[in-house]
């Protein structure tokens, strides 16, 4: 590495938004990855649930819900309906710590095993065939150099099939959105929300591929 390049790298400011000290996303890009390729996932009733009340998790659940309702044949429970049927929603579904997850694991079961009971109880209230629980345990903003500022989000998720409560799919990915000159005229959170929305699109693209559920 040249001295000039080294200097340039040291000027980059990196800020990481963490969900407590929870797990990070790594470099795996699997927006929707079936755990067992031999078992099919068929379009049926589904509730996309936020893994916490944090803004990133809630926003991702909202975007995935909308994308699924608009683009697929899944019967999607709205976030309002989830809130009505499950008072206290969203409640925190504990996620594993970084050191409990292998860097290259493409089929991560994100939630702590002891949290499974919470998900089962939620499903009992929602009465859906699938629960898809999502988190954004890590967000990063990289600023500096000549490249402006880029906001990265690292969504995580698991789809659970009922009855049985088996984890049938996993989400592990990263998406980024970079500022432009228009940033001056845009809301403060525009780029982070944009990265979350792009993540939802990518998740639903893959879900459509896997489940053959295109409208």
């Amino acid at each position: 590495m040249t001295a000039r390049l080294r200097r340039r790298f040291t000027t980059v400011l990196v800020i990481v938004l963490t969900a407590g000290l929870a797990a990070c996303g790594g470099v795996v890009y699997k927006p929707f990855n079936p755990i067992d390729d031999k078992r099919s996932i068929k379009p049926a009733s589904i509730a996309v649930v936020s893994g916490s009340h944090r803004d990133g998790d809630v926003k991702l659940a909202q975007f995935v819900t909308k994308q699924l309702a608009d683009r697929t044949t899944f019967r999607v429970l709205s976030q309002e309906e989830i809130g009505k049927r499950a008072p206290g929603y969203p409640s925190a579904i504990g996620i594993k710590k970084a050191d409990e997850i292998k860097e290259d694991d493409e089929k991560v079961v994100w939630f702590v095993p002891s949290e499974k009971a919470k998900l089962d109880a939620l499903q009992a209230r929602l009465k859906v065939d699938y629960l898809y629980v999502v988190w954004i345990p890590r967000m990063v903003v990289v600023s500096g150099g000549n490249s402006g500022t880029t906001y990265y989000v690292y969504p995580a998720g698991n789809m659970i099939a009922y009855p049985g409560g088996r984890v049938v799919a996993s989400t592990r990915m990263v998406k980024g959105s970079s500022t432009s000159l228009l940033a001056l005229f845009r809301p403060k959170d525009y780029y982070i929300v944009d990265a979350i929305e792009m993540s939802a699109e990518a998740i639903v693209d893959e879900m459509i591929d896997v489940t053959k559920s295109k409208k």
Binding site: R7, R8, T10, T11, V12, L13, V14, I15, V16, L17, T18, A19, G20, L21, S52, H53, R54, D55, G56, G88, S91, A92, M139, V141, S143, G144, K188, D189, I192
Partner: protein, 192 residues
Amino acid sequence: MRNGMGLRAVLAVGLALAVSGCFNAFNVLDSNFKSKGRSLAVLAGVPEEANVAVAALVADELRKQSRYQIVPHAQVAQAVKPYPQLIKGPYRSAYFAIDVDWGLTDKQKLTALQRALGVDYLYVIWAPTAVSYGGSGANLQLVGQLFEFPGAKEVGHGAFQLLVQKDNTTYLKQGAEKVARQLAEETGMLKR
């Protein structure tokens, strides 16, 4: 190069402020404010471990440093069911920073909680997000509001950061001490 030095300086100042706990955690809205009652409960506005821990630490410090009669945190958890619970806080969003709007707090919910606790004042602390600068630990981003009852009148508020580190609560405790001191000072209730 100059740009890079500027960024490093901003980062260094940010870290130094977070570590030293140099912040303005509480200001009264009316400089002539005089406390009418004595009893005060501190509540966590976000049902997460870190938020509850900060609320408990601030309550302990207020008991030591102020003339308020502080409801012990265990008693709060008994009177408020469930506790902690999410209380809509004074912010539009909370990603890397809290986008504050002091008027957004759910005062109806606070009034119900105050009835359960029977106190003159509620001090609610929200910690909706945490930011790390690449080192160990993270900066908890917080906002706090003090309300007077009856009426749920806002007495004062503040936005601040506290450094949380795994297995080291020193900075968190120091921060809680400062928050409690500022609240007691600003409301004229500091122990003499």
